[in-house]
Amino acid sequence: MDFSPLWISLATSLVATVITFLVGVGAAAWRGNCRGFFAVVVDCVFLLPLVLPPTVVGFFLLLLFGRRGPIGELLLRFDATVVFSWPATVIAAVVVSLPLMYVTARAAFELVDQQLLEAARTLGASEWRVFREVALPLAWPGVMAGAILAFARALGEFGATLMIAGDIPRRTETIPMAIYFAVESGEIRRALMWCGVDVGISLGLLGGIYYWTWAERATKGPR
């Protein structure tokens, strides 16, 4: 039995979630200072991958990272190719999971009482300290829920990954790939086994969301 899809999936989702977390939280916090039309533009950029079909996202990524694409060409100068390698699974996972992180974190930051941030400023705190010690801790349950959603989305990513990373056993074959190609070649038991693994991980993630949102609120009580 080859367990490589599990490790590849977990590694891809973990790395993607870390990147998504940093970019998503940063963008969500920064979005708070944007006004009017610019804020709409920022929203659109970050939310587009959520509404586009994954195959479209994958195709755009292929255009960007392919040998003739602007980024692909740049990478070629350093003798590197991304397409159909493991980093490509990470790129696909980041792009499709980012909107969930962004949207959840943004909502969490918007719920933080602005007056608390103002109070911190009048007490002499720098903007970084206001973010680090007031905004982020207060938005933390929402931010964590966003990270878990992003991880789940990254774990289930199929369409864009297939376009840009393909299905190379032991290199880019994630669990969803393994399931699809197992079904295609009639290996129903193998497909069922991977489905079971996915269900198990997903239940664990839902438990995490429960812990970070409802349980947190229950112990800390209303503010």
């Binding site: 009482d113 007056q115 608390l116 103002e118 109070a119 911190a120 400023r121 009048t122 007490l123 002499g124 705190a125 720098s126 010690e133 007031v134 801790p137 207060l138 800390k220 009580g221 209303p222 503010r223």
Partner: protein, 359 residues
């Protein structure tokens, strides 16, 4: 002056246009809700940016639209007490108070915390979270937090309004003690006349974004510059007037000819007398009524916990609906005596208690 403020800030309904200076002592800012009081504090604290103006605190320019100076809130060294305290819910009392003094050395920090803890009577609270505190305790912690950074000025937004009555008097004493030790500009915004009077010697009356009066509180209460200031400082009886040439005037809303503290002239437009200055006179049925003593009939009464508000008519029968009743304040005991007497009651409005206003 240690704090000078010139501000022009467009708001939804009017433009806040304010110019004043404050010394190293408390100044109460009195105004109806929506007069722009909170916005004024926010502009000084650096949380809002005025369109035009200049704010100088202890010789430091905080804001100047001409030279494009606009210090961020964190560099202004202005302590702000928010109306609902704005304590950090995820930090203990000690962490809240210590938030602004992380730059101090540990020993100094501990020292200052101990000092504030004693001053604000919060020794027992330091390990607790804000949600575990009562309103009065939260208020004390918020005050300690604002004072911890040794701000150059202190801004208090309705510091007593969300407290119960019994807490209010205790916190107000604490505030007075704090002000006495603070000796720097302290602006306290309130819509409560008594609070404004109690907490400071100086008063600024704000009306729809403009300074309607500023100065010593006794002066403003005894000689309000305008009918609006009189009303905002709690004067219940205000009438339009027509000057009568001999210095007396006819109060058109009351239908009375009276004399005021000074002679009325062409420019005089309003007269006012506070409800507690309306006095009951002994009846001398045969003697002619002395100056400023008029017969009145009871319109209605309204009871308060410790007194009685009596609304009086100056005609025996009900007249047009727009006739304005005179409002008098009596103790319950006084009311018992007055009630026993036959109407009309002879009511005196001493000339020295009637102030005349030109606008």
């Amino acid at each position: 002056m240690p704090l000078s403020v010139v501000i022009e800030k467009r708001l939804a309904e009017f433009t806040l246009t304010v110019e004043f200076a404050a010394g190293d002592r408390p100044l109460s800012i009195l105004g109806a809700s929506g007069a722009g009081k909170t916005m004024l504090l926010r502009c000084i604290a650096g949380l809002e940016k005025p369109e035009r103006g200049r704010i100088v605190l202890q010789d430091r320019v905080l804001f100047d639209s001409d030279t494009r100076v606009n210090l961020p809130a964190r560099e202004r060294e202005v302590g702000m007490l928010f109306q609902d305290y704005a304590l950090f819910p995820h930090r203990t009392v000690a962490e809240n108070v210590g938030f602004g003094i992380t730059d101090l050395a540990d020993r100094q920090r501990v020292e200052r915390m101990r000092e504030l803890s004693t001053q604000m009577l919060m020794d027992a609270l330091v390990e607790r979270y804000p949600r575990e505190l009562s309103g009065g305790e939260q208020q004390r912690v918020a005050l300690a937090r604002a004072l911890a950074t040794r701000p150059q000025a202190l801004l208090l937004d309705e510091p007593l309004s969300s407290l119960d009555t019994h807490l209010r008097s205790r916190i107000s004493l604490l505030l007075q003690e704090t002000f006495a030790q603070y000796r720097r500009p302290a602006l306290m915004v309130t819509h409560n006349i008594e609070e404004a009077y109690r907490m400071s010697e100086e008063l600024l009356v704000l009306q729809r974004g403009r300074v309607a009066a500023i100065g010593r509180k006794e002066e403003i209460f005894q000689r309000p510059a305008s009918a609006e200031v009189a009303r905002l400082t709690g004067c219940k009886n205000i009438s339009r007037v027509e000057a009568k040439g001999d210095g007396s005037f006819f109060a058109t809303d009351w239908g009375l000819r009276l004399k005021g503290r000074r002679a009325a002239n062409e420019a005089t437009r309003f007269a006012g007398i506070r409800a507690h200055h309306i006095a009951w006179m002994r009846r001398h049925p045969d003697a002619p009524a002395p100056e400023n003593v008029v017969p009145c009939w009871l319109a209605r009464i309204s009871e308060t916990p410790f007194g009685m508000t009596v609304f009086l008519r100056t005609r025996e029968t009900e007249r047009a609906s727009d006739e304005i009743e005179l409002q008098a304040e009596l103790t319950k005991q006084e009311w018992m005596g007055v009630r026993a007497e036959e109407q009309p009651w002879m009511v005196g409005m001493a000339a020295e208690n009637i102030f005349l206003m030109d606008s």
